[in-house]
């Protein structure tokens, strides 16, 4: 991909060592490499998207040690020694995670660009609050923007996934 973010010869790269979707990845990268670019360009996991540059939109949301974070506002170096889960790591043996399945069944996605971040945000939300009300889901998604769906079916997907998991 895009040159491997090793930086220039005048800068020492930093060595990072993370577990991504259960796989250990070690690499020498630029100190300033953002976690989202580490995932996309070094780990070659392109489902996680960049939607803004002010930590506003949530398209880059992944799980860091099981909790949702905006990977555009975490340095790869900060994540070294920790575990990252992206949407590509949710399904197991070809079986979709309940949140993924709920998105499919409830038509919770249209263009799909916000979807990986949205799914990971909801996975984290349901882990912390397994039986949210609609209002709690909406407020819980305040950091995730979608332009296509109007959020209606995303909220239904979250509530449906909560129901299935209970």
């Amino acid at each position: 991909m895009d040159s491997d973010h090793r930086g220039t010869e005048s800068e020492q790269p930093v060595k990072v060592d993370l577990t991504v979707n259960g796989q250990q990845i070690t690499a020498d990268v630029e100190d300033r490499l953002l976690l989202v670019h580490f995932l996309r360009d070094v780990a070659d996991l392109t489902a996680t998207n960049v939607g803004c540059d002010t930590t506003s939109c949530g398209a880059c949301t992944v799980l860091l040690d099981g909790e949702s974070v905006k990977s555009c506002t975490v340095l790869a170096a900060q994540a070294s020694g920790h575990e990252v889960t992206t949407v590509e790591g949710l399904a197991s043996d070809g079986i979709m995670h309940p949140v993924q399945r709920a998105f499919h069944e409830q038509h919770g996605l249209q263009c799909g660009f916000c979807t990986p971040g949205m799914v990971m945000a909801i996975v984290s939300l349901l882990k912390e609050n397994p039986h949210p009300t609609e209002e709690q889901v909406r407020i819980g998604l305040e950091g995730n923007l979608c332009r296509c769906t109007g959020y209606h079916n995303i909220v239904r997907a979250a509530l449906a996934a909560a129901e299935v998991s209970s």
Partner: protein, 272 residues
């Protein structure tokens, strides 16, 4: 979108962090949760040459009962402050306010110490800690010192922290009474406060009515003098210097401060 280049250093202890800060001086910035500093760096509004990552200092993340006060490690994340059973019981104002900061993802990373040290006038926790009469503990290469919250916020983005000084703990006295309220006025849930109000007992503080969090001194004096919440609230904007920006004019902010103080005082009274 991309910060300018810097050298990343990871501190293994508070002492090492201070030593690194002393070594690099003005060229270095501490990185806690990173959700105040990294956004600035990504827009290239800040470009430190050295970043000292405090993320490994897990021993600075705690919420403990010290008898007369609660001690909160500076690196305690907003999420953990929000969900602390101890704070829910003893200082519900702080637990509640921490749950209003940013969004869930931000609260999984941002820290109370980072927020206080950054001191954005639109942020919630500085004003809340001012209402709680907190004391801040900072350490430098010379040792540790206590800073009363009233001395901490000096001007826009300027605090009493000396260069290289590291916030290590926030001490929150257990409030005497049960009356508290936090009113954060935004258009959207994710927005910074257009205006905010924190009330704990007789202390009333304001978010985003000036370059620092402010005590609504005239309101407090009126209350102490026996005024009703509505009458006391009429003084909310006195002594403030609210900005005009795309969200609100100064005049509107002053109006909101009066409405929110009134609502906050009424709510606090209902809890007392």
């Amino acid at each position: 979108m991309i910060p300018s280049s810097f050298t990343y250093k990871r501190a293994g202890s508070a002492e090492e962090a201070c030593d690194l800060a002393a070594e690099y001086g003005e060229d270095a910035k501490y990185l806690a949760g990173g959700h105040s500093l990294l956004p600035l760096m990504k827009l290239r509004l800040a470009a430190p040459e050295v970043i000292i990552d405090l993320g490994g200092l897990r021993d600075l993340s705690y919420v403990t009962d010290q008898g007369s006060h609660i001690a909160i490690g500076a690196l305690t994340r907003h999420h953990d402050v929000e969900h602390s059973d101890l704070l829910a019981r003893e200082v519900p104002l702080l637990a509640h306010a921490a749950g209003q900061v940013g969004d869930p993802q931000i609260r999984h990373r941002g820290t109370i110490g980072g927020s206080v040290a950054h001191s954005d006038p639109a942020s919630d926790l500085p004003a809340v800690l001012l209402a709680l009469d907190a004391t801040l503990v900072a350490r430098g290469t010379d040792g540790a010192r206590e800073i009363p919250i009233g001395d901490f916020f000096q001007s826009l983005f300027e605090t009493a922290l000396e260069p290289g000084e590291l916030l290590t703990e926030i001490r929150v006295p257990k409030p005497a009474g049960a009356g508290w309220s936090f009113q954060k006025f935004t258009q959207r849930a994710i927005d910074w406060a257009i205006v905010g109000v924190a009330v704990q007992g007789g202390r009333v503080t304001l978010v985003n009515m000036g370059g620092t969090p402010l005590r609504a001194a005239a309101v407090e004096a009126a209350l102490a003098g026996g005024a009703s919440p509505a009458d006391a609230a009429a003084h909310a904007a006195e002594g403030t210097s609210a900005a005009s920006d795309i969200r609100a004019t100064r005049e509107y902010r002053e109006h909101l401060s009066r409405v929110l103080v009134s609502r906050a005082l009424t709510e606090a009274a209902s809890r007392a």
